[in-house]
Symmetry: C2
């Protein structure tokens, strides 16, 4: 196991170019931003434009580093229940990886224009995957009230 842990180091594959300078706590649905993928990976995007939506993994570099609180109120709202961090989408996690399912508006070479990416300008991007309905999505779900009543 130790040798596995040593190898769990991420490389940025690109960066977010956006006018958003502060984390938005999820109001960014209609934001348009660009993902500028490293030049040497341009070819690895071929075919992605066949998908209307993509899943973007990014490193939330402005979140708290070091030890994170295990229990929090979602979005810092004291009126919401105190929950374990893994029961929430807080950026302050042991591994600061954010996921966003976004619309792919356009690809030009190594640049992807997307709608709905909740990440500030300068955010390192670590992976891009095609969105697969039925694998990434679930039809019949139960979610806690604090998620539905936003």
């Amino acid at each position: 196991m130790a040798s596995e842990l040593l190898s769990m180091t991420l490389k940025a594959i690109g960066i977010v170019r956006s006018e958003i300078k502060q984390p938005t706590k999820r109001d960014g649905e209609k934001v348009i931003s660009d993902i500028v993928v490293n030049d040497d990976l341009t070819e690895a995007l071929d075919g992605l434009e066949e998908s209307s939506h993509i899943v973007v993994l990014y490193w939330m570099h402005q979140a708290v580093s070091g030890e994170v609180p295990l229990k929090i109120h979602p979005r810092g709202k004291q009126g919401l229940p105190l929950l374990g961090l893994f029961a929430t989408r807080t950026p302050n996690r042991p591994n600061r990886i954010g996921i966003a399912t976004v619309r792919l508006l356009e690809r030009q070479g190594n640049i992807l224009r997307v709608e709905g990416l909740d990440a500030i300008g300068g955010t390192p991007v670590i992976d891009i995957k095609p969105y697969i309905p039925g694998y990434d999505s679930v039809a019949d779900t139960k979610v806690p009230p604090w998620i539905t009543n936003r």
Copy 2:
């Protein structure tokens, strides 16, 4: 940017306990497995049991390490088009992170029993998030034919 890159190191927050010993190329929908979360993070799971589905991020430690091919045939099938790796869900990626949206059957302390986790036993888990319909899912999508005709 250099200082950001230095800090992009992952810590395992738990491990998959499963009878699957080989990667399955996505037939594992009904597989039942356990996620054994590190003891010291047990409290961070509180409230997760309110969600019927969770998003699990894991490190695909058996994928090819080092340089990965930029273009591949999905699932190694020569009959499928040659695509950029980011247009596919191949485990052989610059950052070997897998995502699975799975049903949470039960939580007992630091152990989550889940259905549909496409990861072999021993896989390091790096994050767990509650699934949020409408944020993680999209109603109206276009996907390439090789995804729908599986």
